[in-house]
C-alpha cells in the first residue's frame, strides 16, 4: 500500500520533471533518478534533432492526398440512387421498375393535353402507339383509330383556339387515323361491324362539320387543306351508311375513294381510237354527302382494301397511235392544272392526282375537276379527254350538269379531241355520232387555240359552246 503511494508520488514527480523538460526549462543539476536522467537525454535529443521528411516524400504525400481528395469529391456528388445500395438486388430492380413506371405514367399524363409542336407531344403520340400495340382485334384497333381521329381534331381545334397555326401534318394525321380505322374495319364482321359503322358514321359526320367550319374560318392558304379532309370525311360518312358497308369484310371500305369506271362507249370508228376503260380513277366526293353521286357498288371495284386509296391505278393500255393527239393529251393535262390554279377546283386536284401523267392524266384530272366546281372543271375534263374515248367518261361528269344535257357532253369531248390533235379523221367519226352541229362551232374556235397549246382558252371556248348549246 505504501509502495503504491510512493510509486504514485514518483510518477507525479517524474511527470512534472518531464513537463519542465519538454517546455525547455533547465533541469536541476546532474543529480536525479535513472528515469529522470533518461528523460533529460530524451528531451535533449528531441529538441536538438528534429528529423523531417524528405522533400520528395512530402511532395509524393501531398500529390496522393490531393488526388484522393479529388476522387472523393467526385464520389461524393449526390447519386440519386444511392439510397438503393443498402437493399437486396431484387428490391433495387423492383424499385427502379416502379419508379420508371411512375415516371412514364407521369409523363404520359402530362403529355395527354399536349398539342402539336409542344415538347411533350411526341410522348403523347408514342403512348398512342403503345395503346395500339395492346389492341388484339381489328375491332378494337378500329375503335382506337376513331378515338385517335377525334383526338387529332380536338388538338386542331385547341390549337386554333389558342391562336396557333395548324400544320398540314395535323390534318394528315386525321386522314391517316380515319383511313386506318377503315382498314381495321375491313377485318370486322357481324354486330361489331355494324356498331363500328355507326360510330364511324357519327364520327365522320361530326368531324366533317367541324372541319368544314374550320375551313370556312381558315386562311385561304389553309382552306384547301381543310376542305380536302372534309371531303374525305364526307366520303367515309357515305360509305359508313351504305348498305354495302354492312355486308361484310369483303366489302371494300375504300370504295368511296375508288369509284368504278363506267363502261366505255366504244367509238364506232374503230379500235385504234378506243381508249382504255380499265382506268380506275379517284373521285373525291363533294362536300355535301350524296351517296347516290359518290358511292359505287363495291363489288364492281377490285381495288385492294389494304392499299391506301390515294393513288389511282392505271392500266398500260396503249394510247392511240396519233402523234399529235398524244401531245394534245399532255397539253390537256397541264392545262387542267393551270386552270385549276386559279379556282376552287385545285382542291380536288391537289388531293388526288394533280397534273401528273400523259394521256391518262386527263381522265383523272377531269374527275377531280368535277369534284370541285362546275363548268370550269368540266371543261377541263373535256379537254383532257382529248386523248380519245376518254371523253365519253368525262361526259358523264359534272360538265353536263344543269346546262345542256347529253349534247354538250359529247360535243365538248369530241370537239376537243378533234381540235387539239388535229386528227379530224379519227375523231370525226365520234363527233358525227352525236353532235354534228356542235362540232362545227367548236372546231372553229377551239382549233385555233389548241394549236397554240393554250388549254385555258380551250376551256373557255368549251364553256361558251356549252352555253350556246
Amino acid at each position: 500500500m505504501e509502495n503504491r503511494e510512493e510509486n504514485r508520488a514518483r510518477d507525479e514527480q517524474l511527470d512534472e520533471r518531464i513537463n519542465r523538460l519538454v517546455a525547455g526549462h533547465p533541469t536541476e543539476g546532474p543529480k536525479g533518478t535513472r528515469a529522470e536522467k533518461v528523460a533529460q537525454e530524451f528531451a535533449r535529443l528531441t529538441s536538438e534533432e528534429s528529423p523531417r521528411m524528405s522533400n520528395a516524400a512530402r511532395t509524393q504525400g501531398l500529390v496522393a492526398l490531393r488526388a484522393g481528395a479529388g476522387r472523393k469529391r467526385a464520389e461524393k456528388r449526390p447519386n440519386p440512387l444511392a439510397f438503393l445500395f443498402g437493399f437486396p438486388r431484387w428490391v433495387q430492380l423492383g424499385l427502379v421498375a416502379v419508379v420508371v413506371v411512375l415516371i412514364a405514367n407521369g409523363v404520359s399524363s402530362a403529355a395527354a393535353d399536349a398539342l402539336p409542336g409542344s415538347l411533350l407531344y411526341p410522348f403523347k403520340r408514342f403512348g398512342e402507339g403503345g395503346q395500339l400495340l395492346l389492341q388484339n382485334t381489328n375491332g378494337q384497333r378500329a375503335q382506337l383509330w376513331m378515338n385517335l381521329a377525334n383526338t387529332r381534331l380536338d388538338e386542331i381545334q385547341r390549337l386554333l383556339a389558342s391562336g396557333g397555326r395548324v400544320d398540314p401534318s395535323a390534318l394528315d394525321a386525321i386522314d391517316d387515323s380515319i383511313l386506318r380505322a377503315l382498314s381495321e374495319l375491313a377485318g370486322t364482321r357481324g354486330d361489331e361491324r355494324v356498331e363500328l359503322l355507326k360510330q364511324l358514321l357519327a364520327l365522320s359526320i361530326r368531324q366533317q362539320q367541324v372541319v368544314t367550319q374550320l375551313a370556312d374560318n381558315a386562311s385561304p392558304a389553309d382552306r384547301a387543306r381543310f376542305e380536302q379532309t372534309a371531303k374525305l370525311l364526307a366520303g367515309v360518312a357515305n360509305y359508313a351508311q351504305s348498305p354495302d358497308a354492312v355486308s361484310g369484310p369483303e366489302s371494300n371500305p375504300f370504295q368511296f375513294l375508288t369509284p368504278s369506271p363506267e363502261p366505255s362507249v366504244t367509238p364506232t370508228s374503230g379500235a385504234t381510237a378506243t381508249p382504255s376503260s380499265t382506268l380506275t380513277r379517284t373521285a373525291v366526293p363533294s362536300a355535301t354527302p350524296s351517296p347516290s353521286a359518290t358511292l359505287v357498288p363495291a363489288t364492281d371495284v377490285p381495288s385492294p382494301t389494304n392499299v391506301p386509296p390515294v393513288k389511282p391505278t392505271q392500266s398500260d393500255q396503249p394510247v392511240p397511235p396519233q402523234g399529235d393527239d398524244n401531245s394534245n393529251s399532255n397539253d390537256n393535262a397541264n392545262d387542267n392544272g393551270e386552270d385549276k390554279g386559279g379556282t376552287n377546283d385545285n382542291g380536288g386536284d391537289d388531293k388526288g392526282i394533280a397534273n401528273d401523267n400523259g394521256s391518262g392524266d386527263n381522265q383523272n384530272d377531269n374527275g377531280d375537276d368535277h369534284g370541285g366546281t362546275n363548268d370550269n372543271g368540266g371543261s377541263n375534263n373535256d379537254n383532257g379527254g382529248s386523248g380519245g374515248g376518254d371523253n365519253q367518261n368525262d361526259n358523264g361528269g359534272d360538265d353536263n350538269g344543269g346546262n345542256s344535257g347529253g349534247d354538250n357532253q359529247n360535243d365538248n369531248g369530241d370537239e376537243n379531241v378533234n381540235d387539239n390533235s388535229g386528227d379530224n379523221q379519227n375523231d370525226n367519226g365520234d363527233e358525227h355520232v352525236n353532235d354534228n352541229g356542235d362540232n362545227e362551232n367548236d372546231n372553229g374556235g377551239d382549233n385555233e387555240n389548241d394549236n397554240s397549246g393554250d388549254n385555258q382558252n380551250d376551256n373557255g371556248g368549251n364553256e361558251n359552246d356549252n352555253g350556246g348549246d
Binding site: 510518477d11 512534472e16 519538454v22 536522467k37 537525454e41 528529423p51 523531417r52 501531398l62 461524393k76
Partner: protein, 209 residues
C-alpha cells in the same frame, strides 16, 4: 510531500502543455480544418498535411528506424485519414486534441499493422527490478545518441513507446495522452516512468552490458 508535488504538477501541467498543443493548432482552426476536410477541401487537407506530416514521420521513424519506410507509412497515414474523414465523428471538447489524437492514433495503428506485416513481435514488458522503483539519486553523466535512444526505445512495449514519444516528441500532457489512448492520466504517468526506468537500465553501461 508527494501529495504536494502531485498537486503542483496538476496545477502546472495544463498551462504549460496546453500552450504547446494549442500554439501548434488552435481549437478554432482545428474545428474548421476538420469540417473542411470532411468536405474533401484540398486546401484544408494540405494544411493538415503540412501541420502533421513531420510530427507523424518522427513518431513513426523513432519506432521503425527505417527512414524511407517511415516516410511511406507517414503518407499512408494521411491517405487513410482521407478515406475515413467523412465518417469521423469528433468527441470531446478540444478540437485540437481530437484532430491530433485521431491522426496519431492512425499512425499508431499503421505501425502495429506494419509490425504484423514484417512479422516483428512486439516487445514484452521487461521485468521490473526493485531498484528501478527506488528513488535513487545518480550522479551519472549520461550522454546518449539518437541511435542509443532508438535502440532502447525499441525494447519497450508499444504503449510505453507511444506514451514517451507523445510526451517528449509531441509535447502532449499525460492527461492528453491518456485521452488519446483511452487510459487514465495516472496510468500514463506510470507507463512513462516504467518506460524511462527500463530505458535507463538498458542504457546504463554497467548494467546494460
Amino acid at each position: 510531500m508527494s501529495n504536494n508535488a502531485a498537486m503542483r504538477s496538476r496545477a502546472l501541467a495544463p498551462e504549460i502543455q496546453a500552450d504547446h498543443l494549442h500554439q501548434l493548432l488552435p481549437p478554432a482552426e482545428a474545428r474548421e480544418l476538420l469540417k473542411r476536410a470532411q468536405g474533401y477541401e484540398e486546401r484544408a487537407l494540405t494544411r493538415i498535411y503540412n501541420l502533421f506530416s513531420d510530427r507523424v514521420f518522427r513518431f513513426i521513424y523513432y519506432r521503425i528506424q527505417d527512414r524511407p519506410r517511415a516516410e511511406d507509412l507517414t503518407n499512408e497515414v494521411f491517405v487513410r485519414m482521407l478515406e475515413n474523414v467523412d465518417k469521423f465523428r469528433p468527441s470531446g471538447d478540444d478540437p485540437s486534441l481530437v484532430l491530433s489524437g485521431w491522426i496519431f492514433t492512425i499512425a499508431r495503428n499503421m505501425i502495429i499493422d506494419d509490425y504484423r506485416r514484417q512479422k516483428i513481435r512486439p516487445a514484452e514488458p521487461l521485468p521490473e527490478f526493485d531498484d528501478d522503483l527506488q528513488d535513487e539519486q545518480f550522479d551519472m553523466d549520461l550522454h546518449l545518441t539518437r541511435a542509443d535512444l532508438q535502440k532502447a526505445l525499441a525494447q519497450l512495449t508499444e504503449e510505453q513507446q507511444t506514451v514517451l514519444l507523445m510526451r517528449f516528441e509531441e509535447g502532449f500532457t499525460s492527461a492528453q495522452v491518456g485521452k488519446l489512448m483511452g487510459k487514465t492520466e495516472m496510468a500514463i504517468k506510470a507507463l512513462q516512468r516504467r518506460g524511462l526506468a527500463t530505458m535507463a537500465r538498458l542504457l546504463e553501461p554497467e548494467k546494460g552490458n
